[in-house]
Amino acid sequence: MTDMTTDTLPDDAGDETALHGGAEERKLGFWLTLPAQLLVLFIALFPILMQVYISLTDWSPLDGIPWYQAYELWIGLLNYVDLANDPRFWSAMWRTCIVMAICVPVQFFLGLGLAILFVDDFRGKRVLYSTILVPMMVVPAVAGYMFFMLFQSGGPVNDILSFFAGRPVTIAWLSDPDLALFATIVSDIWQWTPLMFLILLAGMVSVPQDQQMAAVLLGASWTRRFFTIVLPRMKTIIIIAIAIRVIENFKVFDNFYIMTGGGPGVATETISIYIYKVTQQELIWGYVAAIALAILITLSVVSALAIKKLRGAQQ
């Protein structure tokens, strides 16, 4: 009885070779596509190889020699040794991780909460839905400017606080080293919660209705349905949403740069702002290449872990 349907299933392991030709034809295909493949490989690999090369030198555009002659300034792994001992790099790295560790969970839970509210129909849903998505559409630099204005010591945030406090509040949000990071994080959460919401809502809507109905008929409460049916079925999309935000958060720049320029001091200097400063202000490009490579490797590891998790979730 149990193997009854195996007969009725289509034979997926069909004859591959009949469709795609024999070994001869495959070899021809390889040679025909080789130039294109090489081109793609070149485009993808060249900047990285160039970066690896430069990172092993002490080259700077002020040295007066073109980049391909940078071997004259060969210093081996010294840039990487410097990097490992660069307190400003590590503090920027650490700060980036803190931003990520606060932004991603907050965005996730806000997004999930909104998705729960929006999965059922209610009056005015469409208008509200579009409104919620607006921050995501705002150019990040403009968002930075908006929050720059909001968090001025005479700005609306302090006005509101003054109203509730009943006395004038003049907090210097952006120039207080302890508060500046908070203000920038708020702007990131404001801007990117909608994306999290959008992805999670899409995932939640795709949970089969009849499964939920079946659970209701079996007497399951809302909470139980949510944790046993909805969330497990959203696992893949949750991993994707979080991975996207983790990687994006690693790259935060625009709003931070406009709101605080990384300051006061280095209080809001994330890894991207640090790289920007080293590139544009200190012009030690060999060192920049080393930092960039280090980040590329870190992000690759994060992505690889996410993909591995994803495969696990889908099986």
Binding site: M213, L217, G219
Partner: protein, 347 residues
């Protein structure tokens, strides 16, 4: 169910339905799509609230009782198995949801798995199981919480035609095993005929006839039921009942005259089953053969006379006339069903 109805705005999905389903009975709600059978079922389950009328379980009015509290088992069209869980977790879902203790849950899951031959695959993921196992699992998942009534929403419509017979047999035997009250919604008269104790034929939101499969087949209450039940359905020819020296006769125009048992005279629809046609060179009826369909054991003749058409199902051994030739046949007077030409109700 008493005086049950459902309106969607101006559209009446279900007019007035009165139906009593006995304990342990297998009732099929049969009708074409849009006839109100799914609406009826969703109201029993509590997914929809009736516009008027009542649903009672054992005399208890169910209107307003939330679906989780009704004790209704529902088998969905695609079974709605929780494919991200193991078979065991699927079976235990209802018990856990209702706060049954761990030991009790394990015992009851074990029992139902044994009964449904699911024990060997209890710890497998439900994804990728074959469709007949999914059916058993869907039934087991609902049955384990011992619902008062089981509702099945066209569970076989996604199954291969070849495999349906197996599934039908299995479903019927499960129903006997559990002695479970079941309401089965289908548009397939074959499923209804083979499995149900009683069939409720519906059309356009109205319950047309309730009866055992044979009652519905042999004594259709109106022309819709007559046409809908059977494959092919009953032939209906326009005719007039007239008196003759030898008794009552139905005048079927171009097709001839056929003696009948009862009738008060006047216009009627003259019904007979294609299977009950007897070829007879001296028979009273004659129609022209338009198509001959040979389907193995049987041959289906498509017949016409004037603007009337009919079908005859014959044994493939029986010699049949060629296309375009006249076909003469007789009917057993007991097999003839007469319907009022106006109301289309059985006479």
């Amino acid at each position: 169910m008493q005086n049950l109805g459902k309106d969607f705005g101006a559209f009446t999905a279900l007019a007035e339905m009165d139906l009593t389903i006995g304990s342990g009975e297998f009732v099929a709600l049969l009708g074409p799509s849009g006839c109100g059978k799914s609406t009826t079922m969703n109201m029993i389950a509590g997914m929809l609230d009736p516009s008027h009328g009542e649903i009672r379980f054992d005399g208890r009015n169910m209107n307003g009782v939330p679906m989780a509290k009704r004790g209704v088992g529902f088998v969905f069209q695609n079974y709605a198995i929780f494919t991200h869980m193991t078979v065991r977790d699927n079976l235990a879902y209802g018990l856990k949801s209702q706060g049954v203790g761990r030991a009790e849950t394990n015992r009851r899951v074990g029992e139902i798995a044994e009964l449904l031959q699911l024990t060997p695959m209890l710890d497998r993921k439900a994804a990728g199981l074959s469709v007949n196992i999914l059916q058993r699992l869907a039934i087991g998942r609902s049955a384990v919480v011992e619902p008062a009534i089981f509702l099945l929403d066209e569970p076989l419509s996604n199954v291969d035609a070849a495999f349906r017979a197996v599934m039908r047999a299995e479903l019927k035997s499960l129903q006997r095993q559990f002695k479970q009250t079941m309401v089965y919604v289908t548009h397939d008269q074959l499923e209804a005929m083979t499995m149900a104790d009683r069939i409720a034929v519906m059309d356009h939101g109205k319950l047309l006839q309730v009866g055992t499969p044979l009652e519905v087949y042999n004594h259709p209450a109106d022309t819709f039921v007559a046409r809908f039940i059977g494959a092919p359905g009953m032939n209906l020819l326009k005719g007039r009942i007239t008196g003759a020296d030898t008794g009552l006769v139905a005048d079927l125009g171009a097709a001839g005259h056929c003696p009948v048992r009862t009738g008060q005279g006047g216009d009627v629809l003259f019904g007979f089953r294609p299977e009950q046609v007897h070829p007879d060179a001296n028979g009273p009826l004659q129609m022209i053969v338009t198509t001959v369909e040979r389907i193995g054991a049987r041959t289906i003749l498509h017949l016409a006379a004037g603007d009337m058409t009919a079908k005859a199902v014959l044994d493939s051994e029986t010699p049949v006339p060629d296309q375009g030739q006249p076909f003469r046949f007789a009917l057993d007077a007991d097999d003839v069903r007469l319907f009022d030409a106006e109301t289309e109700r059985a006479l």
